[in-house]
């Protein structure tokens, strides 16, 4: 029983392996392709995942393809590569480096296997070449900012040739744009520092102006209020007197009373003379010095 139990762990895989070798069946994993080549000819491509009876797919050749032919197993998954610091020059002559990141996947297994000995390397060389050719002599500003457009340009340039080799280009991204010249980096830093210093001065000047505006505005408002204060007396006093003058008789008596009160309060020497008489002119005339 034990022999049978452990024997099955060896016998069954061996049986299945022999069955596969004889072309009985094949299992295709997701995103894999099996390319069968017999006597130098491609006799079948299986890229649909699942269980396949090879005899139905390849015919009688399935029985010998594993003995006399070859099965290439290809990975069809999305892959990527990053080409660092491809040297380009801007229109202004600035030496720039561009990092290109691109995705690719095998779209035509046969072309991928037989049309190019090194499709991946060739694709990288094409992307690099297209980058240098298409992106050189762009304006520096555009090179730094219009990355989407640059990606599209490189992709359009490379797609056709990559498809010939069975590779399909996925997304292409400009992952990095950088300056290659150290002196240039230092100069840009100085430019930015100078501008920041200008901004510092501008902030100080703007602050001084604001302080001045605040102070002047406050002084103006205060001056208006003080002027109002000075002009209040005539307005209030005049208003009150106008009210009192509504009754003329009362007003006369009021001022007479006030005159008397002030006269009395002043402690001045008072000489009373009769009203309407001739006495005062006569006295004054008598006091005139003799000529």
């Amino acid at each position: 029983m034990a022999v049978a139990f452990f024997g099955m762990f060896i016998a069954m895989p061996m049986f299945l392996a022999v069955l596969r070798l004889l072309g009985g069946y094949v299992i295709i994993e997701e995103r894999r392709a099996h390319v069968y080549v017999l006597f130098g000819k491609v006799i079948g491509i299986l890229d649909e995942p699942g269980f396949h009876i090879l005899l139905f797919k390849l015919g009688p050749a399935a029985l010998i393809v594993h003995w006399l032919g070859k099965c290439h197993v290809l990975d069809l998954r999305l892959d990527q590569a990053y080409l660092r610091s491809q040297p380009v020059n801007s229109e202004e002559g600035a030496p720039m480096g561009i990092g290109i990141w691109y995705e690719m996947f095998v779209s035509d297994p046969v072309a991928y296997l037989f049309r190019n000995a090194n499709p991946r390397g060739s694709l990288a060389a094409n992307v690099s070449s297209a980058t240098v050719r298409c992106l050189s002599n762009m304006k520096l500003g555009d090179m730094l900012e219009n990355r989407h457009q640059m990606s599209l340009t490189v992709r359009e340039e490379v797609t056709a040739s990559s498809q010939e080799w069975g590779y399909k280009l996925g997304s292409v991204y400009i992952r990095k744009v950088h300056f290659r010249d150290f002196e240039m980096i230092k100069q840009i830093e100085s430019k930015v520092v100078n501008r920041l210093r200008q901004v510092t001065s501008a902030i100080k000047q703007d602050g001084a102006n604001q302080v001045s505006v605040i102070t002047s505005t406050a002084e103006r408002q205060a001056a208006i209020e003080f002027a109002k204060a000075a002009a209040l007396r005539p307005q209030i006093v005049g208003g009150a007197l106008e009210q009192i003058s509504q009754d003329k008789r009362v007003a006369e008596v009021l001022f007479d009373v006030l005159e008397v009160e002030r006269l009395v309060a002043s402690k001045a020497d008072i000489t009373l003379v009769p009203a309407g008489g001739e006495f005062l002119p006569q006295v004054l005339a008598a006091q005139k010095p003799a000529v």
Partner: protein
Amino acid sequence: MPSASSYYSHIMIPAGLFFGFVLWFLVRYLAAGIYTVNQGERAVKTSFGRAQRLGGFTGSDPMAAGLNAEERERYNYPQLRVIPPGGPYFKWPWERVYKVPIATQTISMAYDLETPEANQNGTILDAVTKDQLNTGLTGQIRYKADERNLYAYLFAVRNPIIHVMGYFISVLRERIANFEAPPIVIVEEANPANTLSIAGVSINDLRKNLRDLNDRMEQECGTSAARYGIQLEASLITGIDPPPEVESALAAINTAHNHVSSDISLAHASADQKIVLSKRAVEIETLKVQAELEPLLALANQLQELKAKGKNALESYRRSVRLRLFDNAKRAILEVERE
């Protein structure tokens, strides 16, 4: 009568083989087929190498809304039957279970999975700002496998996280190179804090609008789930480090800004004091004049009332007041009639 050895070879061996096969079958096809899925995991099962599909495609799922038509076709993956956490579940030997952790993962945004020594050993990510200044970025990205697109994560993309990082860094550097602060609405008084934005110093714009930048990055990378089966949960730029000289100049700006703010506050305080003082002066003057007028008005009112009392009352009062003159008179000249 058969011998013992004959009995053994005729009965026991076939029976042993039979029970051995049954035991193997039970172990291989039943016990080995039991599995569970942990709480932080999802599972996908393949049968003879083929993943179990639901019938739909991610291209028609709302997650692909951010892709253009060409991308939607390129990143169109089948939707799979996802096995939720729990169990025990059963699988046949020709089936295979792929378990995917769906817990949120964190990675430094400067870390290059293919070349770990790049970006200063994965510590600082270089980027060029809109004013062409080289600056260093530090931060993290948080991501997790998206269970709506496990086909891409498990089968369609060779190394999903490398793709996501490459995509994220490309978008981030483009965003940094194009970043401009949102336009400022100048309300009444010019604010010195806005002077920097007007001057277009993008390193400062970036620092001031870090939240906005992070939000935009999340929006831009919203299609990563449809592309690679990885959902970017957050982009957290924690540091933007310009070269030391620039940093120093930025610090000087900050100092100037604080100084100016202080001066303005003082000027406001002084101005407020002056205005309050002037308003008080008006009040004081008003009260003074009113105080001066009050006796006058009171006397006028009294005289009015007196007049109302009788025809000659007012005149009599006046004469009585005039009498006080005689109290103070030094001299009085009286006319008398001659006899």
